[in-house]
């Protein structure tokens, strides 16, 4: 299938920006996963949906609000009551989830085009993100692999912590370029590299 075009356009400027030391404060990337899928369970059917995600994607979601799991090539996290994001590098996971989750249990909604995945990693990741979001990024408050739904002004964002100093952000595609520009601006203080 034709490759998706990035919404970032000319705002994506690979390379190092204002990096004075040996390493940048943060590395910013557009991860471009093949599939971004929202799965919703009817109240009471969360367990069945979590099991289906495990069966299809091999991702074992922990119980509890905002619980998540991530490996190198795929991830899943809860972002709202009974709602989960499943993200994989490969395309086509949506069709498999549809097969595994009957309408009596929940719904599957493809968002592979509608959400843009941006990764912020590096020692200053928490610092840069704290400029934009009013949530607590410290590890005890935002544990590894957990998910959060929040916003930067008008830009609704789902965030998963995929490393001690790594966060994956999912923003609406139409806002992605504007938000990316804001993110780069916020990262300039600590020096950043776009990969």
């Amino acid at each position: 299938m034709a490759e998706q075009l990035s919404p970032l356009g000319a705002a994506w400027k690979p390379g190092r920006h204002n990096v004075t030391g040996a390493a940048p404060g943060v590395v910013l990337t557009e991860t471009r996963p093949g599939s971004i899928v929202q799965v919703a369970a009817w109240p009471g059917d969360e367990k069945a949906v979590i099991d289906a995600i495990r069966a299809v994607a091999g991702l074992k979601l922990p119980d509890g609000a905002g619980g998540g799991i991530a490996t190198e090539h795929k991830a899943a996290f809860g972002f709202a009551p009974g709602k989960f994001m499943v993200v994989t590098q490969v395309e086509g996971i949506e069709a498999e989830l549809l097969k595994a989750i009957p309408i009596t249990v929940g719904t599957v909604t493809g968002l592979s085009h509608g959400r843009t995945a941006l990764r912020v990693s590096g020692p200053k990741a928490e610092w840069v993100l704290a400029k934009l979001y009013a949530i607590d990024f410290a590890l005890p408050a935002f544990p590894l692999h957990a998910g959060r739904s929040t916003m930067h002004h008008d830009v609704f964002t789902q965030i998963q912590r995929t490393g001690a100093d790594q966060f994956d952000l999912y923003v609406f595609r139409s806002f992605a370029r504007s938000f990316w520009t804001t993110l780069c601006h916020a990262a300039e203080e600590v020096g950043y590299e776009v990969r």
Binding site: M1, A2, E3, Q4, L5, S6, P7, G9, A10, N18, Q38, A40, W42, I103, T104, G106, T107, T109, G110, L111, S112, H113, G114, R115, A130, K131, L132, Y133, A134, I135, D136, A138, A141, H153, D154, V155, F172, R173, S174, F175, R177, S178, F179, T182, H185, A186, E188, E189, V190, G191
Partner: protein, 970 residues
Amino acid sequence: MSPRRTNAPGRVDRARSIRFSFDGKIFAGHPGDTLASALMANGVTLFGRSFKYHRPRGVLTAGVDEPNALVTLIRGDVREPNLPATQVEIYEGLEAVSQNRFPSLSFDVGAVNQLGGKLLGAGFYYKTFMGPVIGPLKGTRFWMFCEHFIRRAAGLGRAGTAKDTARYERMNAFCDVLVVGSGPAGLKAAREAAGDGGRVILLEMDPLFGGSARWSGGRIEGTDAAHWVEETVSGLRELPNVRLLSRTAAWGYYDGNTIAATERVADHKREAAKGEPRQRHWVIRAKKVVLATGAFERPIVFAGNDRPGVMLASAAARYASDFSVLPGERIAVFANNDSAYANAALLREAGATIVAIVDMRAAISEDARRLASECGGELLTGHAVVATEGGKGLTGFKVQKFDAATGSLTGDPRVISADLLAVSGGWSPAIHLASQAGAGKAEWDATLQAFLPPKPAQDWTAVGTAAGDFSGGHGLDVAPAPVFEIRAGGKAFVDFQHDVTADDVRLAHREGFVSVEHLKRYTTLGMATDQGKTSNVPGLAIMAEALGKPIPEVGTTRFRAPFSPVSIGAIGAERIGDLRPDRLTPMHDWHVGQGAKMYPAGLWHRPAIYGAPGETVEQAYIRETKATRSAAGIVDVSTLGKIMVQGPDAAEFLDRVYTNLFSTLPINKARYGLMLREDGFAYDDGTTWRLAEHDFLMTTTTANAGKVMQNLEYFLDVYWPDMKVTLTSVTDEWAGASIAGPRARDILASVVAGTAVDNETLPFMGIVRGEVAGVPVMICRLSFSGELAYEVYSGAGHGQQVWDALIEAGQPFGLVPYGLEALGTMRIEKGHVTGAEIDGRTTARDLYLDWMLSKKKPFVGSAMMDREGLVDENRIRLVGLVSLDGRPLNGGAHLVEHNDPTALRDSIGHITAVCFSPSLGKYIGLALVKGGKKRHGTRAYVSDPLRGRFGPVEIVSHHMFDPEGKRMHG
């Protein structure tokens, strides 16, 4: 004699020099200097002219409470006014100018105001300039005459007009314990909280931590205070759970234990580093807050107390001990409490001669007496200063015998010569933040003669001097004699910055102001940029005396944020100059590349026209419309709101929220739907596509997408929680291209693979799936333009590829891209409604959409839509208009029946949308007029006096073009 630099140790690094300018003159200072300390070290005592009377003013304090020494800083074209020189750290090349003087600081024309003192008393502006206009130069008219001169003469610094180019940022922080203030009490609190393992943030306004303990001597925990500070701070620095922020003023205490603070990140630098903000706006959410905000020394109100050379005793001592600047050579002290004796000792230690200590109390403590004798000089207990002498600097002052109990002055005044008078009128705990987050009023402490923090309404505790605990430090008793004013005639200032005198306060009382809140507003006491830090309690005491009531009964005003001035930039943070994010469609770059004139639609950017060189907007949309109606046009409709409605109850859900039925909609068919509000008025419209048994794709208007989504979620969560429906915003998932015109089908047939698009396969409102350029697409045949039209949806990431393929395929057929103007023109010709007509005041019937109101089921709004007032035939209802004078119409213009351009009455409705109709060759419009249809074929007049437009129109059906819809059904 003037102030001078000493060799005393302190914060100033004399090994390095910094050059800066004040009023164009070049001076040298050192790292660690504030503008105030550096100028004083250069012998400068005159810093500004006062607000109303243009009296010369010097430095009163050494900190954020400074009312007098305000300056304007100039960075390039940017001016920042009203900065206390005591807060400005100097940097190489700093450029500061004094304020409120004309033509120069030392010779000021406005100083003549001092002679006409009575003229500018309390409420002067209100009395002179408000009220009825009687006679040529009275009241409001007089104000208009004088305003220019007064605005120039009175007031503070002038703001610049250049755009602020500095960077500002916001930072969200969370902690277990937030400590505000880093004096000994704050440091101890931070150390203790850090020991408990919690996350701790410590804020300090000053560049250095430690407060007065760094320079005022004394011992803490058995060691030298300055050394203790150093040890404690470096201990805290090593802890990973502690964040220390200097140059950070906490200025607001908000709900949820949220503190707002401004960090001056680069204000002390010549230039911020690349990417570094000038200031950082901290929003800190703390589980617990410790307010160690310290206390402010108060001046004493006496005649001439504003003369340069009269300074707070603690400030004088701090200049000497902390900044290595001796503020005077021959120093006298005037006090009502013991703390000033310790400061006198520090001044003497720094090399000054203490000529006299004037204490209004008859009896003083042993400690004070001992310190006085160590200082040398005369000790005059039971005395008070009654006047000061000198021009732009103090040369001496007069004292008289004083009875603190009665306030009476006796005996002959005696002159004492001195170049600095260090004053202490007692101490006021800095309860500003506590007051903002307090339950009830601040509590009056009769011993301290000061307000203590109120009971907390949030999770905070006050410690140290902020809580009225002065037992640390030098250990002297700070309890003052309860005297705030020496009444000996002459101008005695309470609020230095707003030039409010004790007599002004009494005048306000005589004029009937009894509430402290009214007094404050009438006299403007405490309303200047310093927020009355030095004037609040003395002003209140004088008011209380005038009222004959004790101070606690008069009460204090509640302190409000901000505690200290905050730049608007810091609050705007990253949004300065870029107030809103941009929402771009997948084809945005293509539109811009084609020279489209982009138009903001909410946050979206949409092409208004694709103008050819030399074309006007009207020419462009007429060309685009004609091409679409004669061949084909393509428009980007990706901005339409799109909501996936999924689940076993999805169809039922739609039946409830739409006025018409959707449960009967076959799979792969679309239907136009209308939503009402609960009150029965029209809300939003759009088409909804049934993609599968349990999957519907709802479209909304671009403008209402967010609101409709919220409204649907509200109904689902609040009223129908048992329905199994998932709502997901998929606006951004799909790119949409609408291709319209007689050749639209031919174009699609030539480019779409995997499906036919003929009338049989793809009838009106049908949906098919296929491929364009190897990309999966979904095509729905529906029309807004009135032409044979199709909406081609693809994944947003493929939108540009599909668009390119459609443009290329359309070339042989004369396809043109069109923008919002042409889109609007075609919908007006067709009489399709948008937000201009669904304006929140129209009903479905008003818009002739009653055919959409199902009688088979209740729906949102169905119970309220038939109310008497909503079904009245004479409501304003939708019609078409044709301009009869060949001139354009204006949206918003009124319609009248009479042909009288001068009569501004009897509106029968208004115009909602206008265009030139290429199809009719006339200027046309849509309007809402009384009676609607009944007026078809009648004449009316547009009346738009504001824009000078009056002329005849014909009222016609809103279906002005192809009323039978042959074209789109073809």
